[in-house]
Symmetry: C2
Subunit: 402 residues, 2 copies
Amino acid sequence: MINIAILGFGVVGSGTAEVLTENKKIIEERLGCSYAIRHILDLRDFPDSPFGSLITHDFQEILNDPEVTVVAEMMGGSHPAYDFTKACLEAGKHVVTSNKEVVSTFGVELCRIAAEHGVRYLFEASVGGGIPVIRPMINDLSSNRIRKISGILNGTTNYILTSMKEQGAAFGDALKEAQRLGYAEANPSADVDGIDAARKIVILAALASGKLIDPKTIPTEGITKITLTDTHIAQLFEYTVKLIGHTYVNDDGSLLAFVAPRMVPVTNPLSRIDDVFNGILVSANMVGDVMFYGPGAGKLPTASAVVADIIDIIANRNTEIKPIVWREATPQDILPFEEYFCPRMFICQGSQKDLPNALASYPAKEADGACGVITPAMSEADCNALAVTLGDMLLATYRILN
Amino acid sequence: MINIAILGFGVVGSGTAEVLTENKKIIEERLGCSYAIRHILDLRDFPDSPFGSLITHDFQEILNDPEVTVVAEMMGGSHPAYDFTKACLEAGKHVVTSNKEVVSTFGVELCRIAAEHGVRYLFEASVGGGIPVIRPMINDLSSNRIRKISGILNGTTNYILTSMKEQGAAFGDALKEAQRLGYAEANPSADVDGIDAARKIVILAALASGKLIDPKTIPTEGITKITLTDTHIAQLFEYTVKLIGHTYVNDDGSLLAFVAPRMVPVTNPLSRIDDVFNGILVSANMVGDVMFYGPGAGKLPTASAVVADIIDIIANRNTEIKPIVWREATPQDILPFEEYFCPRMFICQGSQKDLPNALASYPAKEADGACGVITPAMSEADCNALAVTLGDMLLATYRILN
């Protein structure tokens, strides 16, 4: 009998209890052993929940219970989630989590502590909700060198961008609708400013490179400035505007990660991922491009990934598993962003005939009194310099995903 | 040092040698141990290959070499691939394979023999080429009951269908182009008649249900009868014609598997998988729908999956792994196909006003002197009965993927 404790009985925590209960029979058959939820930590009481009797308000009760082998942390936020995770690992308990904030900020230390104490720290649910992506990257692309990853990593912003494209809703209206449907928080900043996507892309980048970048330091641009004009011009060029978390890893292990809205060609499978779904396109040196697609959030999908980690731990509890070893990325590891090189779209006021000489020779399309121009690949530095010369005429620039 | 033998130095076999060599450094780092290719079995000699000195024509040399721990079978065909696999497993050697014919036909016996001899028989590359799908289904959807799987499982037919849709090429011309490009064999039957897809869907069905169905017994329809008129009418309804391997698993474990061209709504992510790419959409009771996408064939992609299996075996060589246990599906396990229930499209000669009463009330679209009609869900039996009453008027019927 394996005993499990759940930290945080919110959406994902209660979903995890539900998956563990609903599918108990098949999971125990697969594991060849039985399990039970022994404690659920939350500040609140849940007198009407079937799990109400398991609620405790005292973390020490879990930490000091030698019968608890696996702890599932789904509290969200850095503190006390990080502190509780660290304490559990140091006490020789395995920890699984959906908490991207903790993994992206403290992942190096927590993986090291887990390894030192012979336990595991797993976080499949921290990226892509229910989509299997972290374990497949570790296990199934193990024969490959991962070159780059481009992901639609945030369901809220993808819902908003889909509404803007399909319904012609302006950003503010699409956001309100997302809030009404429960897809966006009252304070939507973590989603619409790209912060959530930044946390997820640094986790993926660490899986590809072994180096964890502080997510607060990567170039991060959200979707708040995207206009309907931008989406109209995108469609004329057969692009779709998507918020993309992107990482590129050099052969020498140096890397780059950033989050920005990008023009995605309709031929790229990421362009067709709509609504709250997520998709992660991984390019590796032998397999080429593979994509993982599915529900990037939601109670049961995310819980499905949390429970997959719990099953992995229980199934391999008597096995020596090679630990995840990351180190903090140093400034020397980071490729200079100003050298990032890709084709661009410039959106300028006026019509094609108003374009300055610098842009006049490239393909252009007009919509809503503005003109979009596609340029060949150029660096961030050159793009910024060109933007300065365009001055007030320039409405927006986009990187094209290639 | 782990020694590997390769059986069959064709496309995938030589790709496997290439992946093992090209990415040796990173793979050995990940494994924490070194490996070598020790023998390559082929009827031919390869004097100009860097691996030429490893070629042997004598399988016994590999079988009797106690230093060989892992054997990668990439010969294709049932015999001698099955016989060699069985002999290797019985000799206590792990076997990995890309051979869907052997896995789908002899998988029950070979998995059992592997378990009896404490070795593993892995076959990630047998479905979806380089796409991670088998291990993710086993490991990452382990908290789920898998309900159904719909897959574009054959790159050749998907290339042909994409050409028909995008270039307006007739089936015969698209097939010739696929043969010219090396995507289709001189004898294309295994692909265009759905035989290859049937082998793959029974493997996926066995992973979901534990029961392996003889692929020769499942309803299997290829793409040879699809006309450009069908694709035109599909487009008018916002469907795409795709060859779909489908399996459905009941809660009691009874199941259904079949291969047929289907009308896939453009809102379904499978509708957008073009050219030689494959996609496998898995519906499970907790996570909902997840899709795995990537190169379904090709030298290095398929080899990437073969080598992932080799790495899995080497990494876990001192671990007791729960074996894959399948049994042969009995007639009682199989859901009666005549009860399979889904919406349909009937394509009839003439225009909407010529439709018989039985179809007159449903949405209809005309193209090329034919008329397509969408009906609500009906069983195979009812569909067949209706087809009889339509007689010569009926050009085609399609199941709609829902």
